[in-house]
Protein backbone atom coordinates (compact mmCIF):
# COMPACT_ATOMS: atom_id res chain seq x y z
CA UNK A 1 0.00 0.00 0.00
CA UNK A 2 1.37 3.44 -0.84
CA UNK A 3 1.93 5.93 1.96
CA UNK A 4 -0.42 8.79 2.65
CA UNK A 5 0.96 12.32 2.68
CA UNK A 6 1.21 11.94 6.45
CA UNK A 7 2.94 8.59 5.92
CA UNK A 8 5.66 10.26 3.83
CA UNK A 9 6.12 12.85 6.57
CA UNK A 10 6.23 10.15 9.25
CA UNK A 11 8.85 8.21 7.31
CA UNK A 12 11.06 11.28 6.96
CA UNK A 13 10.73 12.10 10.66
CA UNK A 14 12.20 8.67 11.49
CA UNK A 15 15.35 9.51 9.51
CA UNK A 16 16.07 12.86 11.15
CA UNK A 17 18.89 12.25 13.63
CA UNK A 18 19.18 13.57 17.15
CA UNK A 19 20.55 17.13 17.35
CA UNK A 20 19.45 18.14 13.89
CA UNK A 21 18.43 21.61 12.67
CA UNK A 22 15.76 21.35 10.03
CA UNK A 23 13.82 23.63 7.72
CA UNK A 24 10.49 22.28 6.51
CA UNK A 25 8.84 23.58 3.32
CA UNK A 26 5.12 23.93 2.72
CA UNK A 27 2.88 20.97 1.92
CA UNK A 28 4.01 17.47 2.88
CA UNK A 29 7.30 18.74 4.42
CA UNK A 30 5.39 20.86 6.93
CA UNK A 31 3.68 17.68 8.20
CA UNK A 32 7.03 16.25 9.34
CA UNK A 33 6.82 18.39 12.49
CA UNK A 34 3.86 16.31 13.69
CA UNK A 35 5.87 13.09 13.76
CA UNK A 36 9.21 14.08 15.33
CA UNK A 37 10.37 11.21 17.59
CA UNK A 38 10.07 12.37 21.21
CA UNK A 39 13.52 11.16 22.31
CA UNK A 40 15.43 13.34 19.87
CA UNK A 41 16.31 17.03 19.96
CA UNK A 42 15.27 18.33 16.55
CA UNK A 43 15.04 22.11 16.14
CA UNK A 44 12.77 23.47 13.44
CA UNK A 45 14.04 26.56 11.64
CA UNK A 46 11.64 28.96 9.96
CA UNK A 47 12.83 31.48 7.35
CA UNK A 48 11.13 34.39 9.06
CA UNK A 49 13.44 34.18 12.03
CA UNK A 50 12.76 31.22 14.31
CA UNK A 51 15.02 28.44 15.51
CA UNK A 52 12.95 26.11 17.67
CA UNK A 53 9.44 26.56 16.26
CA UNK A 54 6.94 24.43 18.15
CA UNK A 55 3.52 23.03 17.25
CA UNK A 56 0.82 25.25 15.80
CA UNK A 57 -0.79 27.46 18.40
CA UNK A 58 -4.13 26.44 19.87
CA UNK A 59 -6.69 29.27 19.71
CA UNK A 60 -5.85 30.38 23.24
CA UNK A 61 -2.10 30.27 22.50
CA UNK A 62 -2.11 32.51 19.43
CA UNK A 63 0.30 35.43 19.52
CA UNK A 64 -0.42 37.78 16.60
CA UNK A 65 3.31 38.54 16.33
CA UNK A 66 4.38 34.91 16.02
CA UNK A 67 3.96 33.02 12.76
CA UNK A 68 6.16 30.59 10.86
CA UNK A 69 7.18 30.90 7.22
CA UNK A 70 3.94 29.22 6.13
CA UNK A 71 1.98 31.96 7.89
CA UNK A 72 0.72 29.60 10.59
CA UNK A 73 0.47 30.89 14.14
CA UNK A 74 2.96 28.72 16.01
CA UNK A 75 4.45 28.27 19.45
CA UNK A 76 8.09 28.26 20.54
CA UNK A 77 9.83 25.42 22.35
CA UNK A 78 12.01 26.19 25.38
CA UNK A 79 15.44 27.10 24.00
CA UNK A 80 14.01 28.74 20.89
CA UNK A 81 15.60 31.91 19.51
CA UNK A 82 14.30 34.70 17.28
CA UNK A 83 16.22 36.80 14.74
CA UNK A 84 15.88 38.87 11.59
CA UNK A 85 15.83 37.69 7.98
CA UNK A 86 19.48 38.53 7.36
CA UNK A 87 20.64 36.15 10.08
CA UNK A 88 17.98 33.62 9.12
CA UNK A 89 19.33 33.40 5.58
CA UNK A 90 22.92 33.45 6.84
CA UNK A 91 21.91 30.27 8.66
CA UNK A 92 20.39 28.85 5.47
CA UNK A 93 22.94 29.89 2.86
CA UNK A 94 25.90 29.47 5.21
CA UNK A 95 25.37 25.73 5.46
CA UNK A 96 24.27 25.65 9.09
CA UNK A 97 21.02 23.69 8.65
CA UNK A 98 21.69 19.96 8.89
CA UNK A 99 18.57 19.13 6.86
CA UNK A 100 15.89 20.71 4.73
CA UNK A 101 12.76 18.94 3.56
CA UNK A 102 11.28 20.51 0.44
CA UNK A 103 8.37 19.82 -1.86
CA UNK A 104 8.91 19.31 -5.60
CA UNK A 105 7.26 19.65 -8.95
CA UNK A 106 10.06 17.54 -10.43
CA UNK A 107 13.38 16.05 -9.34
CA UNK A 108 15.93 14.87 -11.88
CA UNK A 109 18.06 11.76 -11.56
CA UNK A 110 21.03 13.97 -10.66
CA UNK A 111 19.15 15.78 -7.94
CA UNK A 112 18.13 18.89 -9.85
CA UNK A 113 15.06 20.33 -8.16
CA UNK A 114 12.15 22.17 -9.78
CA UNK A 115 9.74 23.41 -7.17
CA UNK A 116 8.87 27.06 -7.61
CA UNK A 117 7.23 27.82 -10.91
CA UNK A 118 4.85 26.38 -13.43
CA UNK A 119 5.51 28.16 -16.73
CA UNK A 120 2.71 30.20 -18.21
CA UNK A 121 0.83 33.38 -17.48
CA UNK A 122 1.29 33.25 -13.74
CA UNK A 123 2.85 35.50 -11.15
CA UNK A 124 6.35 34.20 -10.39
CA UNK A 125 7.37 33.89 -6.73
CA UNK A 126 10.13 31.85 -5.16
CA UNK A 127 10.39 32.72 -1.45
CA UNK A 128 13.26 30.98 0.33
CA UNK A 129 13.33 27.75 -1.70
CA UNK A 130 16.40 28.58 -3.81
CA UNK A 131 18.45 29.61 -0.77
CA UNK A 132 17.44 26.50 1.15
CA UNK A 133 18.15 24.20 -1.80
CA UNK A 134 21.72 25.47 -2.17
CA UNK A 135 22.39 26.03 1.52
CA UNK A 136 21.20 23.13 3.66
CA UNK A 137 23.70 20.35 4.31
CA UNK A 138 21.20 17.66 3.21
CA UNK A 139 18.22 18.46 1.03
CA UNK A 140 15.48 15.86 1.11
CA UNK A 141 12.41 15.99 -1.08
CA UNK A 142 8.96 14.91 0.08
CA UNK A 143 6.53 14.38 -2.76
CA UNK A 144 3.96 12.07 -4.26
CA UNK A 145 5.74 9.79 -6.73
CA UNK A 146 3.60 10.99 -9.65
CA UNK A 147 1.31 13.92 -10.42
CA UNK A 148 -2.44 13.68 -9.98
CA UNK A 149 -2.49 12.80 -13.69
CA UNK A 150 -0.04 9.93 -13.15
CA UNK A 151 2.96 11.69 -14.74
CA UNK A 152 6.34 10.88 -13.16
CA UNK A 153 7.76 13.65 -10.96
CA UNK A 154 11.14 11.92 -10.83
CA UNK A 155 12.55 12.51 -14.30
CA UNK A 156 15.61 12.33 -16.52
CA UNK A 157 15.72 16.13 -16.88
CA UNK A 158 13.47 18.72 -15.25
CA UNK A 159 11.20 20.49 -17.72
CA UNK A 160 9.96 23.00 -15.17
CA UNK A 161 12.22 25.93 -14.19
CA UNK A 162 14.92 24.88 -11.74
CA UNK A 163 15.10 25.83 -8.08
CA UNK A 164 18.70 24.59 -7.89
CA UNK A 165 20.85 22.07 -9.72
CA UNK A 166 22.18 18.87 -8.10
CA UNK A 167 20.97 19.72 -4.64
CA UNK A 168 18.69 16.80 -3.67
CA UNK A 169 20.18 13.91 -1.71
CA UNK A 170 17.09 11.85 -0.95
CA UNK A 171 13.56 11.59 -2.27
CA UNK A 172 10.73 10.32 -0.08
CA UNK A 173 7.52 9.48 -1.94
CA UNK A 174 4.33 7.53 -1.34
CA UNK A 175 5.96 4.57 -3.06
CA UNK A 176 9.64 4.62 -2.21
CA UNK A 177 12.76 6.16 -0.72
CA UNK A 178 15.45 6.99 -3.26
CA UNK A 179 18.91 8.45 -2.86
CA UNK A 180 20.92 10.47 -5.35
CA UNK A 181 24.59 9.56 -5.59
CA UNK A 182 26.38 11.29 -8.44
CA UNK A 183 24.71 10.11 -11.65
CA UNK A 184 22.91 7.30 -9.90
CA UNK A 185 19.41 7.28 -8.52
CA UNK A 186 19.30 4.40 -6.05
CA UNK A 187 16.11 2.71 -4.91
CA UNK A 188 16.59 2.32 -1.15
CA UNK A 189 13.16 1.26 0.10
CA UNK A 190 9.70 0.50 -1.17
CA UNK A 191 6.40 1.04 0.62
CA UNK A 192 4.71 -2.05 2.09
CA UNK A 193 3.08 -4.03 -0.70
CA UNK A 194 4.69 -1.93 -3.43
CA UNK A 195 7.03 -3.79 -5.77
CA UNK A 196 10.26 -2.66 -7.36
CA UNK A 197 8.51 -2.99 -10.70
CA UNK A 198 5.74 -0.61 -9.57
CA UNK A 199 8.32 2.00 -8.67
CA UNK A 200 10.30 1.56 -11.88
CA UNK A 201 7.11 1.88 -13.93
CA UNK A 202 6.18 5.17 -12.30
CA UNK A 203 9.65 6.72 -12.37
CA UNK A 204 10.77 8.80 -15.34
CA UNK A 205 14.48 8.11 -14.92
CA UNK A 206 16.61 4.95 -14.74
CA UNK A 207 16.94 3.52 -11.24
CA UNK A 208 19.84 1.65 -9.72
CA UNK A 209 18.32 -1.36 -7.96
CA UNK A 210 20.42 -2.93 -5.19
CA UNK A 211 20.31 -6.73 -4.82
CA UNK A 212 17.88 -6.48 -1.90
CA UNK A 213 15.56 -3.49 -1.66
CA UNK A 214 14.22 -2.95 1.86
CA UNK A 215 10.54 -2.59 2.57
CA UNK A 216 9.72 0.41 4.74
CA UNK A 217 8.89 -0.31 8.35
CA UNK A 218 5.92 1.88 8.92
CA UNK A 219 2.80 1.42 11.01
CA UNK A 220 -0.65 1.63 9.41
CA UNK A 221 -1.59 4.58 11.51
CA UNK A 222 -0.16 6.91 14.14
CA UNK A 223 -2.30 8.56 16.81
CA UNK A 224 -5.37 8.20 14.66
CA UNK A 225 -3.76 9.42 11.42
CA UNK A 226 -3.54 6.90 8.56
CA UNK A 227 0.02 6.50 7.31
CA UNK A 228 -0.79 3.95 4.63
CA UNK A 229 -3.40 4.48 1.94
CA UNK A 230 -6.33 2.07 2.19
Amino acid sequence: MPLTREGIAYRIAQDLPDESFVNLGTGIPSLVARFLPPGKTILIHSENGILGAGPKARPDEIDPDLVNANGDYVTLIPGASLFDHALSFAIIRGGHLTHAVLGALQVSRRGDLASWRIPGPRVPGVGGAMDIAVGAQRVWVATMHTTDQGEPKIVEECTYPLTAARCVRRIYTDLAVLSVEGEQLILEEVAPGVTVEDVVARTGAPLTIPPAVRTMEIPTEFAGTALLAP
Binding site: S46, E47, N48, G49, I50, A57, P59, D60, I62, D63, P64, D65, L66, V67, N68, A69, G71, Y73, L82, F83, D84, H85, A86, F89, I92, R93, R117, P121, R122, V123, P124, G125, V126, G127, G128, A129, M130, D131, V134, G135, P161, L162, T163, A164, A165
Partner: protein, 231 residues
Protein backbone atom coordinates in the same frame (compact mmCIF):
# COMPACT_ATOMS: atom_id res chain seq x y z
CA UNK B 1 15.91 64.90 19.38
CA UNK B 2 12.25 63.96 19.32
CA UNK B 3 11.41 61.70 16.37
CA UNK B 4 7.77 61.24 17.32
CA UNK B 5 5.14 62.59 14.95
CA UNK B 6 1.47 62.63 15.87
CA UNK B 7 -0.18 60.65 13.09
CA UNK B 8 0.60 58.27 10.27
CA UNK B 9 -0.82 60.80 7.83
CA UNK B 10 1.70 63.36 9.01
CA UNK B 11 4.51 60.80 8.82
CA UNK B 12 3.91 60.06 5.13
CA UNK B 13 2.83 63.56 4.05
CA UNK B 14 5.99 64.40 2.10
CA UNK B 15 6.25 61.24 0.00
CA UNK B 16 6.16 62.20 -3.68
CA UNK B 17 4.82 60.35 -6.70
CA UNK B 18 7.41 57.90 -8.00
CA UNK B 19 9.04 57.33 -4.61
CA UNK B 20 10.63 53.97 -3.76
CA UNK B 21 9.38 52.58 -0.45
CA UNK B 22 10.53 49.54 1.51
CA UNK B 23 7.85 47.94 3.66
CA UNK B 24 8.77 45.49 6.42
CA UNK B 25 6.80 42.50 7.58
CA UNK B 26 6.33 38.82 6.84
CA UNK B 27 2.93 37.28 7.35
CA UNK B 28 0.96 39.64 9.53
CA UNK B 29 3.84 40.20 12.02
CA UNK B 30 5.85 43.32 11.42
CA UNK B 31 3.75 44.94 8.69
CA UNK B 32 3.30 48.67 9.40
CA UNK B 33 -0.34 48.54 8.30
CA UNK B 34 -1.31 51.97 9.54
CA UNK B 35 1.51 53.66 7.63
CA UNK B 36 0.45 51.77 4.52
CA UNK B 37 -3.16 52.87 5.00
CA UNK B 38 -2.04 56.49 5.37
CA UNK B 39 0.07 56.13 2.23
CA UNK B 40 -2.98 54.80 0.38
CA UNK B 41 -4.91 57.91 1.39
CA UNK B 42 -2.26 60.01 -0.37
CA UNK B 43 -3.44 58.59 -3.74
CA UNK B 44 0.08 58.65 -5.20
CA UNK B 45 1.23 57.18 -8.53
CA UNK B 46 4.25 55.35 -9.91
CA UNK B 47 5.49 54.06 -6.57
CA UNK B 48 8.18 51.38 -6.41
CA UNK B 49 7.50 49.06 -3.48
CA UNK B 50 10.12 46.77 -1.98
CA UNK B 51 8.16 44.21 -0.01
CA UNK B 52 8.71 40.49 0.44
CA UNK B 53 5.14 39.39 -0.31
CA UNK B 54 2.35 40.44 -2.62
CA UNK B 55 0.17 42.25 -0.13
CA UNK B 56 -3.47 41.67 0.77
CA UNK B 57 -6.54 43.83 1.12
CA UNK B 58 -6.20 43.69 4.93
CA UNK B 59 -2.57 44.83 5.12
CA UNK B 60 -3.24 47.66 2.65
CA UNK B 61 -0.36 46.76 0.33
CA UNK B 62 -2.71 44.82 -1.92
CA UNK B 63 -4.99 47.85 -1.80
CA UNK B 64 -2.20 50.17 -2.94
CA UNK B 65 -1.54 47.85 -5.86
CA UNK B 66 -5.26 47.54 -6.67
CA UNK B 67 -5.49 51.35 -6.68
CA UNK B 68 -2.87 51.50 -9.41
CA UNK B 69 -0.49 53.44 -7.17
CA UNK B 70 2.38 51.01 -7.76
CA UNK B 71 4.48 50.92 -10.91
CA UNK B 72 6.90 48.21 -9.78
CA UNK B 73 7.12 45.66 -6.98
CA UNK B 74 10.49 44.24 -5.95
CA UNK B 75 9.59 41.10 -4.05
CA UNK B 76 10.26 37.45 -3.31
CA UNK B 77 6.96 35.68 -2.73
CA UNK B 78 4.01 37.59 -4.23
CA UNK B 79 2.07 34.39 -4.86
CA UNK B 80 0.29 33.75 -1.56
CA UNK B 81 -3.47 33.23 -1.80
CA UNK B 82 -4.45 36.75 -0.70
CA UNK B 83 -2.26 38.45 -3.32
CA UNK B 84 -5.10 38.99 -5.77
CA UNK B 85 -4.20 42.57 -6.69
CA UNK B 86 -0.67 41.58 -7.77
CA UNK B 87 -2.10 38.80 -9.87
CA UNK B 88 -4.60 41.01 -11.64
CA UNK B 89 -2.28 43.94 -12.25
CA UNK B 90 0.66 41.77 -13.32
CA UNK B 91 -1.35 39.67 -15.73
CA UNK B 92 -2.93 42.86 -17.13
CA UNK B 93 0.58 44.20 -17.80
CA UNK B 94 0.07 47.10 -15.40
CA UNK B 95 2.60 46.10 -12.74
CA UNK B 96 6.30 45.42 -13.18
CA UNK B 97 7.67 42.63 -10.98
CA UNK B 98 11.26 41.96 -9.93
CA UNK B 99 11.32 38.61 -8.15
CA UNK B 100 14.32 37.65 -6.01
CA UNK B 101 15.18 34.65 -3.87
CA UNK B 102 14.29 35.65 -0.31
CA UNK B 103 17.88 35.50 0.95
CA UNK B 104 19.03 37.61 -1.99
CA UNK B 105 16.18 40.07 -1.37
CA UNK B 106 17.26 40.71 2.22
CA UNK B 107 20.98 40.59 1.48
CA UNK B 108 20.68 43.23 -1.26
CA UNK B 109 18.91 45.49 1.24
CA UNK B 110 21.58 44.81 3.86
CA UNK B 111 24.29 45.66 1.31
CA UNK B 112 22.47 48.91 0.53
CA UNK B 113 22.38 49.85 4.21
CA UNK B 114 25.95 48.74 4.90
CA UNK B 115 27.57 50.70 2.06
CA UNK B 116 28.66 47.64 0.08
CA UNK B 117 28.79 47.71 -3.72
CA UNK B 118 27.39 44.22 -4.20
CA UNK B 119 28.02 40.59 -3.34
CA UNK B 120 28.16 37.09 -4.75
CA UNK B 121 25.57 34.54 -3.67
CA UNK B 122 25.36 30.85 -4.57
CA UNK B 123 21.57 31.15 -4.64
CA UNK B 124 19.84 31.09 -7.99
CA UNK B 125 22.80 29.92 -10.09
CA UNK B 126 21.50 28.21 -13.21
CA UNK B 127 17.93 29.37 -12.70
CA UNK B 128 15.64 31.88 -14.43
CA UNK B 129 16.26 34.35 -11.63
CA UNK B 130 19.96 34.57 -12.52
CA UNK B 131 19.36 35.23 -16.20
CA UNK B 132 21.32 38.26 -17.34
CA UNK B 133 23.30 38.38 -14.12
CA UNK B 134 27.06 37.89 -13.88
CA UNK B 135 28.15 34.45 -12.66
CA UNK B 136 31.63 34.05 -11.19
CA UNK B 137 33.45 30.95 -10.04
CA UNK B 138 34.95 31.55 -6.61
CA UNK B 139 36.93 28.78 -4.94
CA UNK B 140 35.48 26.33 -7.47
CA UNK B 141 31.83 27.18 -6.91
CA UNK B 142 29.56 29.38 -9.06
CA UNK B 143 28.01 32.52 -7.58
CA UNK B 144 25.62 35.16 -8.92
CA UNK B 145 26.49 38.86 -8.57
CA UNK B 146 23.83 40.98 -6.91
CA UNK B 147 23.70 44.75 -6.44
CA UNK B 148 22.71 46.65 -3.30
CA UNK B 149 19.16 47.88 -2.91
CA UNK B 150 18.15 51.17 -1.27
CA UNK B 151 14.95 53.20 -1.20
CA UNK B 152 13.75 56.74 -0.64
CA UNK B 153 11.61 55.63 2.32
CA UNK B 154 11.28 52.61 4.59
CA UNK B 155 8.14 51.77 6.56
CA UNK B 156 9.11 49.82 9.68
CA UNK B 157 6.92 48.13 12.28
CA UNK B 158 8.38 47.71 15.78
CA UNK B 159 7.04 46.96 19.22
CA UNK B 160 8.49 49.80 21.26
CA UNK B 161 10.41 52.97 20.48
CA UNK B 162 11.89 55.67 22.63
CA UNK B 163 11.52 59.27 21.51
CA UNK B 164 14.92 59.18 19.82
CA UNK B 165 13.77 56.32 17.61
CA UNK B 166 15.59 53.39 19.20
CA UNK B 167 13.50 50.31 18.31
CA UNK B 168 12.70 46.99 19.96
CA UNK B 169 10.83 44.13 18.31
CA UNK B 170 9.01 41.11 19.73
CA UNK B 171 8.54 37.54 18.45
CA UNK B 172 8.77 37.34 14.65
CA UNK B 173 8.20 41.06 14.04
CA UNK B 174 11.84 41.56 13.17
CA UNK B 175 11.94 39.79 9.82
CA UNK B 176 12.97 42.51 7.29
CA UNK B 177 12.38 45.50 9.56
CA UNK B 178 15.83 45.98 11.18
CA UNK B 179 17.50 45.52 7.79
CA UNK B 180 15.23 47.88 5.84
CA UNK B 181 15.72 50.47 8.60
CA UNK B 182 19.36 50.74 7.48
CA UNK B 183 18.73 51.16 3.77
CA UNK B 184 16.41 54.12 3.13
CA UNK B 185 16.87 57.87 3.14
CA UNK B 186 13.85 58.45 5.38
CA UNK B 187 12.88 55.71 7.85
CA UNK B 188 9.42 55.84 9.43
CA UNK B 189 8.55 53.46 12.26
CA UNK B 190 5.06 52.53 13.41
CA UNK B 191 5.19 51.23 17.00
CA UNK B 192 2.81 49.93 19.61
CA UNK B 193 4.22 52.12 22.33
CA UNK B 194 6.61 55.05 22.78
CA UNK B 195 8.63 54.96 25.99
CA UNK B 196 10.99 57.55 27.52
CA UNK B 197 14.62 57.75 26.39
CA UNK B 198 16.59 55.47 28.68
CA UNK B 199 13.72 53.06 29.28
CA UNK B 200 15.03 50.50 26.77
CA UNK B 201 18.11 48.54 27.78
CA UNK B 202 21.11 49.19 25.50
CA UNK B 203 21.41 45.46 24.77
CA UNK B 204 17.78 44.95 23.75
CA UNK B 205 17.70 47.78 21.19
CA UNK B 206 17.74 46.08 17.80
CA UNK B 207 17.55 49.20 15.62
CA UNK B 208 19.67 52.09 16.98
CA UNK B 209 18.13 55.55 16.63
CA UNK B 210 20.73 56.61 14.06
CA UNK B 211 18.63 54.80 11.46
CA UNK B 212 15.20 56.20 12.35
CA UNK B 213 13.75 59.55 11.25
CA UNK B 214 10.10 59.42 12.34
CA UNK B 215 8.14 57.41 14.91
CA UNK B 216 4.35 57.10 15.12
CA UNK B 217 2.65 55.44 18.06
CA UNK B 218 -0.35 53.31 17.05
CA UNK B 219 -1.40 51.17 20.01
CA UNK B 220 -2.75 47.73 19.22
CA UNK B 221 -5.64 46.41 21.29
CA UNK B 222 -4.41 42.84 21.32
CA UNK B 223 -1.37 43.71 23.38
CA UNK B 224 -3.66 44.25 26.36
CA UNK B 225 -6.43 41.73 25.74
CA UNK B 226 -6.64 38.13 24.53
CA UNK B 227 -5.81 37.57 20.90
CA UNK B 228 -8.62 36.84 18.44
CA UNK B 229 -9.34 33.28 17.38
CA UNK B 230 -7.63 32.18 14.17
CA UNK B 231 -9.45 32.51 10.86
Amino acid sequence: MDRVVATCDEAVADIPNGASIMIGGFGPPGIPVNLVKALRRRKLRDLVLIYCGGGTEEDGIGGLIADGAVRKLITSFPTHPGATAVREKYLAGELELEVLPQGTFVERIRAGGAGLGGFYTPTGVGTELAEGKEVRIIDGRPYVFELPLRADYAFIKAYRADRWGNLVYRRTMRNFNPIMATAANIVIAEVDEVVPVGALSPEEIETPCIFVDRVVEVPRDWIRRPAPAPR
